[in-house]
Symmetry: C2
Subunit: 481 residues, 2 copies
C-alpha cells in the first residue's frame, strides 16, 4: 500500500460512520429533473459544501442561472467548486462528481424506500437512489478528506473539486463554467490542474475492477416527412402519398439487421485496432454471456466476445429510437398521420465528429428520398451531438490508477472503453488539455438508473481506499519522474 | 314530386320550428366516449323516444348492458327501436341513425359554442356538434313523421327505426341486438323489413348529391418484435440485435411508396371494373383538386381522377399507423426499446375478408422475418377487422333514392363507394338479407368529426323532403312491380 497505514486503519475503523453519512446523503431526494424536488438538490449542494468545509476545503457555490420548467422559474442548483492544497511542488488533481440523482419512487418496483438507504449486512449491499450514482463515489472523497483531516495527515497532492447538481438533467451551464474558469488563466479555479479523475462509471461485470479510457460520441437526428395538412382518416388510403410509408422506407435504409451502418463513408478513417489495443480487449474479463445478461436475452450480434466488445465501444453504431407524430398507443387507431419524425442516433468513435458525419447522413438521406420520388416533403436535421473521447492510457494518471487498483483489489484492472457518453469528460480533456481518467467505485450490476440501485459495502470501503491510494500513487510517480 | 303537395308545403312552412328542434337536440351534449357525459347520452335517447311517441311511433328502449370506464360502472345508452305501420300491402323500410356525437370543446378551435346551434342566416349554415353527424339526419325523419302526423296523412310505407347512442364509441352491443331480433323470426322487431336506409354519410363534394353503395372493410394488425428484457441504453448499440431495426425493415416490406401492397396474393380475385362500373366513376363529380383539398396538400397518387377515386374506394390500401413501445416524444432520447409493435391496417374490397387476407399477411411477414435471420422474436396478429360491403345499385331501393334525389335536387346523384367503414351497414345487410342504401343529407365540407361541424339549412330542409320523397318512391316502385 502506498498510503500510510493510519489512513487504511482509519477507513476500516470508521465504516459505520461512513455508511451513516451515505444514509444522510441518500435521504436528500436530489432529483434534478423534477421541479418539485429542486429545493432538495439545492439542499444537497449545501450539505456537500458544509462537509467539504469541515475537512478544510475552501468552496465556492457558483450559480448557473435559471430555467423555466412546467411554468415555474427555477434556480439551477449551483456547481460546488472546492480547493485544498497549494503546494507548487505537488501535483494537482481535479475531481469531478455529481450530487443530483435519477427519479425514483417505491411504486416503480423498489423493494425498499429509494430515499432511505437500506443496508443489508447479510448480502453486503446498500440499496438506495444515488448509492452508486453518484453519491457513493462523491462520499468516497469525503471519507478520504475526513481521514486525513482527523489524523492530521497532509494530503500527498493538491486537490480541486467540481461537483454539479444537474448531471442527470444535461449538465446545464457546466461547459460554460469550465470554459470561463479556464479563460481566467492564473486566476481560474482550475489553474495548475495536472490531471482529472472522474468516478461516475462502473466495472463491466461484478468481478473485475476497470479503468475506462474511452467513450463514444453521439449524433442525434430526426427525419421529418410531411404532406397532409392534418391527420387523415385511413379511408383515404390508396389515393394519396402517406408520410409514414416514406419515413419507414427511409429509416430502413440506415442500418442492416446486423447493425452495419449503410451510410456511405461513415466508417472512413476509423483505424483498425493494433496489437496492443487488441490485447486490451483480449484481457477484459467480459463474456458474451455477460452482455446477454445485461440485455436480458440471448441477442448478441456475435459469438465472439472481442467482436461484441469492440462493436459496443470502438465501432460506431446506429439505433432507431422511435417516431414522433404517429399513433403510439395500445390497440388500433385508423389514422394516416400528417407529419412524422423518425428519431435515430449514431454512437461515434474517433475520428468521427457530429459535424463530419452529419454531411454524410444528410446527403445520403436526401439522395434516398429523391429516389423515392414522392410528392411529400422531407427534412433531416441534427438535434444534438458530442465528440467521442479516448485517453492516452500510457499516461502516469492511468499508471497511478492501475497501481492503486492492484494494491486494493489485488487484480490488474481491465482497460475498457464504454459505449455511451459522459460529456463532461470531453469538456475537461479539451478545456484543460490534461489527461482524464474514469476510475469506477461500483460494479456492473449496481443498476445506476434502475430500481433497487445499490452499492456493495466492500466497493464503498475499498473504493474509499482506492481513491486515497490513487492520490499517493500520483504523488509517488511524479516524484520519481 | 311523388309525395303529396301538403307534405312539401308543411316542410317549407315549418322550417323555423324544425331548426328550433335541431337546436334542442344539439344542446344535449351526448358525447358517448366521455364518461362525464354519459347521462346526456341517456337523456338524448329519452328525448328522441318521446319525439317519436308524439308522432305515433311505438318505441322500445333496449338496454345494451354495462361497461367499466375510468373506474366507474356505466350503463350503456339503450338502443331506441321504433315502429309505425303494419300494413302488409306496403313495403317496410328500416331506418338507422345515431344520437350520440363526437367530443367537442370551444377551446379546440370552434368559433361558436359547439353545443349551442349557431344559425347563420347569411351563409345559410348551422354550426354545432352533431348538426350533420347524425342529429340532422335523425331529425329529418322526425320532420317527416311530424308532417304526416300533423296533416293526418298516412305514411306510404311501414317504418321501423333503429337508433343507437354508441356509434362514436364502437356501436357496443348493436350487432348482438340485431342478431337477437332477427333470430326471433316473426316476433322480432325487424321482421318483414324490405330494405334499409341509413343517413350517416355525406356528399363527396359541396355540389352534387350522391348515393353510397359500397364501403371498404378493414383488417388491423400489429407486428411485435421483442428481444431485450427491458429498454436498453443506446451505448449498447453495435453489440446486440435491436428490435426497432427489425421492425422498421419488416414494415418497409409491406407497401410501396406509391401505395402498392407488396403482400403476395393480396389482390387475388378483385375483379376489374366493367364498363358500367367505370361509367359510374366517370360520372362522379369529383376532381383530383377536390381530393387534394381534403388532404390539404397536392399529394394525390395520380393525376387521373378516376384512378384516384378507385384507389380510394374499390382497391385495397395499406396504411402504417405508428409504433407502440418506441420513443414518441419531441426531441431526443437515447434508448433502445425492448419491445416494439408496428401498427398497420388494410382497407379491404370484395372478395377480400379479414380471415382470407390474414393468412397471406401472416405468412408473408413470417417469411420476411425468417430471411432477416435475427435472434429476436416476432409475432404478427390481427387486432380487428370487418368485411367490405357493396350493394346492388340496380335494386328498387336505389332506384327510389335516385328518383327522390332527382326530384328534390334536380340532379342525378353520383353513385359512390367510400374508402372507410360503417360496420352497421354490413350487419344489416348480412342479418336481414335485404338491400341497404346510404342516403346522405349533408355535404362533403360539413366536417363531421372536426371543429365547426355544420349543416346547411338547405340540406336540412331539402334533406327532409328527400327522405319523405324517398318513402313515396319506394311505395310507387313496389306498387308498379
Ligand atoms: Zn452519474
Ligand atoms: Zn446517472
Ligand atoms: Zn355518424
Ligand atoms: Zn361520426
Amino acid at each position: 500500500m502506498s498510503g500510510p497505514k493510519q489512513f487504511y486503519d482509519y477507513v476500516d475503523a470508521n465504516q459505520d460512520s461512513f455508511i451513516q453519512r451515505l444514509s444522510e446523503a441518500v435521504a436528500i431526494p436530489s432529483v434534478s429533473t423534477d421541479p418539485a424536488r429542486r429545493d432538495d438538490v439545492h439542499r444537497m449542494g449545501s450539505w456537500l459544501e458544509s462537509q467539504l468545509n469541515k475537512y478544510g476545503v475552501t468552496t465556492r457555490a457558483v450559480p448557473l442561472g435559471q430555467q423555466e420548467l412546467e411554468g415555474k422559474v427555477l434556480e439551477y442548483p449551483p456547481a460546488i467548486l472546492g480547493r485544498i492544497g497549494d503546494d507548487l511542488s505537488k501535483k494537482t488533481v481535479l475531481i469531478y462528481g455529481h450530487f443530483d440523482v435519477q427519479p425514483a419512487d417505491k411504486s416503480d418496483g423498489w423493494n425498499t424506500e429509494p430515499f432511505q438507504l437500506h443496508v443489508d449486512r447479510e448480502s453486503g449491499k446498500m440499496y438506495g437512489r444515488g448509492s452508486t450514482d453518484d453519491k457513493g463515489p462523491v462520499l468516497g472523497w469525503l471519507n478520504v478528506l475526513e481521514a486525513h483531516h482527523t489524523l492530521g495527515l497532509e494530503l500527498p497532492i493538491n486537490l480541486r473539486f467540481c461537483f454539479e447538481g444537474l448531471e442527470e438533467d444535461g449538465s446545464q451551464g457546466l461547459d460554460e463554467l469550465i470554459a470561463t474558469e479556464v479563460a481566467k488563466g492564473v486566476e481560474g479555479w482550475f489553474h495548475g490542474v495536472d490531471c482529472v479523475c472522474i468516478s461516475d462509471n462502473y466495472w463491466l461485470n461484478t468481478r473485475t475492477p476497470c479503468l475506462t479510457y474511452g467513450l463514444r460520441g453521439i449524433a442525434y437526428y430526426q427525419v421529418v416527412v410531411s404532406g397532409p395538412a392534418s391527420d387523415l382518416h385511413s379511408g383515404l388510403g390508396g389515393s394519396i402519398y402517406e408520410p409514414m410509408t416514406t419515413l419507414i422506407l427511409l429509416l430502413g435504409k440506415l442500418v442492416s439487421v446486423e447493425g452495419r451502418i449503410l451510410i456511405p463513408g461513415i466508417y472512413d478513417g476509423i483505424a483498425a485496432a493494433d496489437s496492443s489495443e487488441l490485447q486490451k480487449y483480449q484481457d477484459i474479463d467480459f463474456s458474451v454471456a455477460d452482455l446477454e445478461k445485461i440485455a436480458g436475452a440471448p441477442i448478441a450480434l456475435s459469438e465472439d466476445r472481442v467482436t461484441v466488445m469492440m462493436g459496443r465501444t470502438r465501432e460506431p453504431s446506429l439505433s432507431l429510437h422511435g417516431i414522433e407524430g404517429a399513433y403510439s398507443g395500445a390497440g388500433g387507431k385508423t389514422v394516416i398521420p400528417s407529419t412524422v419524425s423518425g428519431k435515430f442516433s449514431l454512437r461515434l468513435v474517433p475520428p468521427q465528429t457530429p459535424e463530419d458525419i452529419t454531411k454524410k447522413v444528410l446527403s445520403y438521406i436526401e439522395a434516398e428520398f429523391a429516389k423515392l420520388n414522392t410528392k411529400l416533403k422531407m427534412k433531416v436535421e441534427l438535434l444534438g451531438g458530442g465528440n467521442p473521447w479516448v485517453a492516452d492510457t500510457k499516461h502516469w494518471n492511468y499508471e497511478a490508477a492501475q497501481r492503486a487498483t492492484e494494491a486494493i483489489w489485488g487484480q490488474t484492472p481491465n482497460y475498457t472503453r464504454e459505449g455511451g457518453s459522459i460529456p463532461v469528460t470531453l469538456t475537461f480533456a479539451q478545456n484543460l488539455g490534461v489527461n482524464v481518467l474514469l476510475l469506477p467505485m461500483g460494479r456492473g450490476d449496481d443498476g445506476a438508473h434502475s430500481t433497487n440501485e445499490k452499492l456493495d459495502i466492500s466497493n464503498f470501503i475499498n473504493g474509499t481506499k482506492l481513491l486515497g491510494t490513487y492520490l499517493y500513487e500520483v504523488a509517488n510517480i511524479s516524484a520519481q519522474k
